[in-house]
């Protein structure tokens, strides 16, 4: 295809292209600079803009005060971290150019909230030009690196993977530090399962925390990519202000949501049951993480009673029972699971027959069933596979030996 043929590509493709957004013109006259709109300053390279804001401890949001004392304890328990101080924890939220985690989605605003001796501070880094991404990420990494625990909302499947993608993309040698990560979305889902109309931060604010954002100072999440896109093209920062405020509010919400959760969980446990716990399996897992096996077993049992097909609880419960030496109870569960084609259960049953009962025929039967099933799966870890093959070989040998001895 030569130049003449491509002369007017748009005409050529006319009528075959779907509707797309059109762009505003470049550099509108009279647009505001970042510094006109936001109180912050450019970092060294001039491509990253930093905004810092502080809030007194006794500020109230909704019905709650910002300062809370239970946060380190709850982060410690549910992220699996060691002992933490309040100052070791950072609250993170990002704003992005899209909702996917593909390589074409950029993070352009990162808010980091932390407690200081005298207040709660939010540092926000804004990517002013896409070409500055590397500096942007480096600034963030250097700040995050001074904390041990991180709190996000949906950060495990969105913010952190996306940031990690951006690091990889920029070929940064310094990796995102491996912080103890507490994702409040997971806890929230467990605590308020089926009782909220949505599990985004906004719904939680309104239905759990009891506050509404000021529409004049906020922006609906779905509009954010477009506003930033326009800023890149026309450099008018006027509309960025609401994105920055939005991000800051997200972080403040995180703090008081965590405080509420902490109150619910670290308080008297019986109280909590009377409260509106729904997800017994989830709570069971929480107890398991806290190494409270008795309560965990109770939750899992209740969950299985309610949901007959709760395979996860069944699996966890069976291993907890095995660990506590209640083998016959565990065996019943494995038999139930094996009937649902669970490979782990077959392997456990095979072990039980081989080591405890010395019934090699039955052990081999279970092993072969697992082997056949595994063969039908899309993905095969040849390690699993080989261990099954090894087991069945060993059992065959034992059986042959028995036969010879019988003769």
């Amino acid at each position: 295809m030569n130049k003449a043929e491509l002369k007017d590509l748009k005409a050529l493709l006319q009528g075959h292209l779907p509707e797309e957004n059109t762009v505003r013109n470049h550099s509108r006259a009279g647009g505001n600079n970042l510094q006109d709109v936001l109180s912050g300053n450019y970092l060294a390279a001039g491509e990253v803009f930093k905004i810092s804001s502080s809030y007194p401890y006794d500020m109230t949001i909704g019905k709650r005060k910002l300062r809370c004392y239970r946060i380190p304890e709850i982060v410690h328990k549910y992220s699996g971290s060691g002992k933490l101080e309040l100052g070791d924890i950072v609250f993170l939220d990002t704003e992005t150019t899209g909702l996917g985690t593909g390589s074409g989605t950029f993070v352009f605003l990162v808010g980091l909230g932390y407690f200081t001796e005298k207040d709660f501070t939010v540092d926000q880094y804004l990517l002013d030009r896409l070409s500055g991404e590397q500096h942007f990420l480096e600034s963030i990494i250097s700040e995050i690196s001074s904390y041990c625990g991180i709190v996000t909302f949906n950060g495990k499947s969105f913010d952190m993977p996306l940031l990690r993608n951006r690091f990889i993309f920029n070929g940064l040698t310094a990796e995102l530090p491996d912080l103890w990560h507490l994702d409040l979305l997971h806890l929230t889902r467990r605590l308020w399962q089926n009782s909220l109309s949505g599990y985004d931060l906004q719904n939680i604010e309104q239905q759990v925390l009891g506050f509404w954002r000021n529409p004049g100072e906020d922006i609906p999440g779905e509009k954010i990519p477009e506003v930033y896109r326009n800023y890149l093209q026309d450099r008018d920062a006027s509309f960025l202000k609401n994105i920055v405020l939005h991000n800051r509010t997200d972080i403040l919400s995180l703090v008081i949501l965590l405080d509420l959760i902490a109150e619910l969980i670290t308080g008297d446990i019986r109280d909590c049951f009377e409260w509106k716990f729904r997800d017994e399996s989830g709570i069971g897992k929480l107890f398991e993480q806290m190494r409270d096996e008795v309560n965990a077993i109770r939750c899992f049992e209740r969950s299985i009673r309610i949901f007959d097909d709760d395979r996860v609880s069944l699996k966890r419960l069976s291993f907890l029972l095995k660990k506590r030496g209640e083998v016959s109870r565990a065996e019943k569960l494995w038999e139930k699971a094996a009937a649902c084609d669970e490979i782990y259960a077959m392997v456990e049953l095979a072990k039980l027959e081989e080591h405890q009962r010395k019934n090699y025929v039955k052990a081999l039967e279970w092993t072969l069933r697992a082997h056949n099933l595994l063969q039908q799966r899309a993905m095969v870890n040849s390690g699993n596979f080989q261990s099954l093959i090894k087991r069945s070989n060993r059992l065959q040998q034992k059986l042959n030996r028995d036969k010879i001895e019988d003769d």
């Binding site: 590509l9 762009v23 074409g104 095969v380 040849s382």
Partner: protein, 833 residues
């Protein structure tokens, strides 16, 4: 004498079958050629091979091993069941022994092939007992669960996937695959010949995106292709990856004798070109096959035909327990049982549609019976390839339908056997495909200022990137251009369509597939019969706003054919040349196409059951066309030779009385030029030719009659004469061209224009790419113009019919009688014979 020889004899020497076998091809026994294992092959792999009874490698396997190990890209182009998989398995597994972090990507066009291959690799790996951490194999496709996906990304040494998943699920998320990409050493692309047309053109761009990313992660993987035997496969592969690949075409594997018979059902009426129903003949042959202890697979086009054949066979033999059908839409369990019974030999005859896709393992069969040419050489070869196991003899019988495309094969049986067909045409630079692929590429990684794409230079890329900027998805910061939209471009189109715009095919709310908007009106207009994966559907409605074609299942005895009007505007004439009495052209055209109605045509007999009108808006597209014009001298010469005969047609009783009535009505005046004098005779002319009516009363209805002077009458008859000649020729060319393009009939459109703007008012035949932006088909035809016309002449000359038939210039009901004579005359004059 073995049983196959008995069978062959029973057919070839039979007084009924024998004379109608019009071709007997034989691929002789192929002896194996061996080479020893390569020196550096690890002991564990040697042990595995020995345990599988392999003590040497076939020559092509060894050659592949050496080439791959030395870092060369290769193409293994060898026959069915020649051990192609081992060509890449061995070198890749050997390299894995030396580098436990190694990653390889294996791309298969079908799920069945992917499953198959995983099984094979797994068998080797678990047997060859890898030291260190065991190798992991993962199938990454639409069925893979989320937790497995992460595991595969991070840990699988072998990722088995398909082009769609690579496009949608892997490349746009490459950072999640960084461990994989940093260690990617091999990319295996199996059955590369299936990547043709739109799919192939997209795939070339997907591979380009892959290469762009491997460069980013600092690796340069070796590309390994396997292919059916094709001419020019190296050129084809170069179009795909813009790199050279070493071609290995010596086949060292042994093969049994392969027989190929073409059976042409005998004539019922030679003059009309009517032959015995081919499906009935297929059933008859199948019954004959049952007498032998051999396993047979029958292929038919549609599920309906599969059902018919099955019903006849079961009823006529009473052996329904050993005769089964295989088509789409089974539950997995019943499908597995069918496959098992075929493999074990319990099922003696299986009747299948093409749903029996590449890679579904049913074992080798003795006889493949193909009910009608499947539409492309590639499918024909694939179907025939189902025959043969190891060194046993095998037989394929193709039963021809009366369609021209089938009958044309008789002229070129070498298309089927000895001569390799050419690789299909792809056009990765089709602007539609390119634009959408560039969006994906941009999403994956910003474009640098001096960056090209595929064979496009940075300058050639500019108009595309400008357009993306205009649409607001690209942000230019000087040094780099970034994707800035919140959309996910890879999710916006399928590799099976042009990408620009398409209609969803929906059945009971479920989406069955897609059809390009440019062909939606043509193929899925309201009331159209649409065949999808062997099943017949009626288009209940075409929702223009929602872009949905609503289908319902139907059993019919007819198919439909759209009637359309086409106008051309010449945008850019690229080539033209006078070749004797005709002038040929190639250029860019703007095509305005309007589907105005459709015909219902009866299966088998091709009888026209009725016409219906449609009210659809016109569609415009820009594409490429090849056209040729009959020169003025040629047209005049043809008309002289037409020797306008005064042979008084028998227009029925009372004709002379009728003529004077009509002349009276028309004022004894020519209704065209107004001539009223005495020098010229006044004739009464049938507006619609008399011969096209079944009922003479209707033909002679006054509304169909008009008074003309002899001069005007001649001109009109001449136009009709030329027109029917052009239509017949167009039918002929449209049907034989796909053989030279390795494409489907629907990939090109053929249009006749009596006085065309494209050639100063001369009559032309235009053949154009039916896909906007073109696939390169018209350009290829332009270069094969003379060959095409010679072939066309041979077809007409050798056809036994007198005035034209479906096997040459088209069914007479459509063109009117006599079309064969004029087509022959045109072709003889052009070809100087």
């Amino acid at each position: 004498m073995d049983i196959m020889d008995d069978l062959l004899k029973s057919i070839l020497e039979d007084p009924y079958w024998g004379p109608n076998i019009i071709f007997h091809g034989l691929e002789p026994v192929r002896n194996s050629q061996w080479l020893p294992f390569p020196d550096d092959l690890a002991g564990s792999l040697r042990n595995y091979l020995r345990s599988a009874g392999i003590n040497n490698l076939y020559t092509h396997q060894r050659q592949a091993y050496d080439m791959i190990r030395s870092g060369r890209n290769i193409i293994v182009s060898s026959g069915v069941a020649s051990g192609k998989s081992l060509c890449y398995q061995l070198p890749v597994l050997q390299t894995l022994q030396e580098d436990a972090d190694l990653r390889a990507m294996l791309i298969f066009p079908t799920k069945a092939l992917a499953q198959d291959q995983r099984g094979a690799l797994e068998a080797i790996i678990s047997h060859a007992a890898y030291s260190g951490s065991p190798a992991v194999i993962g199938i990454y496709d639409g069925d893979t669960s989320l937790p497995q996906r992460k595991d595969i990304r991070d840990r699988a040494n072998f990722v088995i996937t398909n082009p769609d998943m690579l496009h949608m699920g892997i490349l746009p998320h490459h950072t999640g695959w960084h461990r994989f990409f940093r260690n990617l050493r091999f990319v295996v692309i199996d059955e590369v010949h299936v990547y043709r047309g739109i799919f192939g053109s997209h795939f070339a761009n997907v591979l380009q995106r892959l290469k762009r990313l491997t460069l980013f992660y600092g690796v340069k993987p070796v590309f390994i292709f396997t292919s059916a035997t094709l001419t020019n496969v190296s050129v084809f592969v170069h179009r795909l990856i813009h790199e050279d690949a070493f071609l290995i075409s010596d086949d060292g594997s042994p093969g049994g004798e392969r027989h190929f018979l073409i059976y042409n059902p005998p004539y019922i009426n030679r003059e009309l070109g009517l032959r015995k129903n081919y499906m009935t003949e297929t059933v008859k042959l199948a019954k004959h096959l049952l007498k032998f202890d051999l396993q047979t697979l029958i292929f038919a086009h549609t599920r309906r035909m599969v059902e018919l054949i099955l019903t006849y066979l079961q009823a006529e033999t009473g052996e329904s327990h050993v005769i089964k059908s295989y088509r789409g839409g089974y539950l997995p369990s019943s499908r597995r049982k069918l496959e098992k019974d075929m493999k074990s030999g319990i099922t003696r005859i299986t009747v299948a549609t093409n749903a029996l896709e590449l890679g579904i393992d049913i074992g080798g069969l003795d006889v493949v019976l193909i009910n009608g040419y499947p539409g492309s050489i590639a499918s024909l070869r694939q179907q025939a390839g189902r025959g043969g196991r190891g060194v046993r003899k095998s037989l394929t019988i193709l039963v021809l339908s009366p369609a021209l495309i089938d009958q044309y094969l008789i002229r070129h049986p070498e298309f089927i056997t000895d001569k390799d067909p050419e690789a299909a045409l792809i056009n990765p630079e089709n602007p539609f495909i390119l634009l959408f692929q560039l969006k994906c590429a941009l999403f994956e990684k910003p474009f640098l200022n001096n960056e090209g794409f595929g064979c496009l230079s940075p300058e050639e890329l500019v108009p595309f990137l400008d357009l993306l900027q205009k649409y607001g998805v690209l942000h230019d910061e000087g040094e780099k251009k970034y994707w800035i939209s919140d959309a996910y471009p890879a999710g916006q189109f399928s590799l099976r369509t042009l990408g620009a715009d398409y209609f969803l095919l929906q059945h009971e709310g479920k989406t069955l597939g897609l059809v390009d908007a440019s062909s939606a009106f043509w193929m899925t207009h309201p009331q159209a019969i649409y065949i999808h994966e062997g099943d017949t559907y009626l288009v209940k409605d075409l929702h223009l706003q929602e872009h949905i074609a609503e289908l319902s299942r139907i059993r019919t005895d007819y198919y439909t054919q759209a009637i359309s009007q086409t106008d051309f505007e010449l945008l850019l004439q690229k080539h033209s040349e006078e070749v004797q009495e005709v002038k040929k052209f190639f250029g860019q055209l703007k095509v305005t196409h309007r589907v105005t109605g459709f015909k219902k045509i009866k299966w088998f007999s091709n009888e026209i059951l009725g016409y219906c009108e449609l009210d659809l808006p016109p569609q415009e597209m820009i594409t490429y066309g090849y056209w040729f014009a009959l020169g003025k001298k040629l047209v005049d010469a043809l008309c002289v030779e037409n020797n306008w005969n005064n042979r008084s047609n028998d227009y029925g009783p009372g004709w002379s009385g009728l003529t004077s009535q009509i002349q009276e009505r028309d004022g004894r005046q020519c209704r065209i030029c107004g001539y009223k004098g005495k020098e010229r005779v006044l004739d009464v002319h049938h507006r619609k030719p008399f011969r096209t009516f079944a009922d003479p009363q209707k033909a002679n209805h006054p509304d169909n009659l008009i008074t003309l002077c002899r001069t005007c009458h001649r001109r009109i008859e001449k136009n009709f004469y030329i027109q029917s000649g052009l239509s017949g020729l167009a039918f002929l060319l449209g049907n034989i061209s796909p053989f030279y393009l390795m494409c489907d009939r629907k990939d090109i459109h053929v249009v006749v224009q009596e006085n065309s703007k494209l050639a100063e008012g001369l009559p032309v035949i235009v053949i154009y790419d039916s896909i906007p932006g073109g696939m390169g088909l018209a350009e290829k035809l332009y270069s094969q113009h003379s060959l095409l016309l010679q072939e066309a002449l041979a077809v007409v000359r050798d056809c036994a019919c007198t005035t034209g038939c479906p096997s040459c210039v088209g069914p007479e009901a459509e063109m009117g009688q006599g079309s064969k004579r004029i087509v022959k005359k045109i072709l003889e004059t052009i070809n100087h014979e």
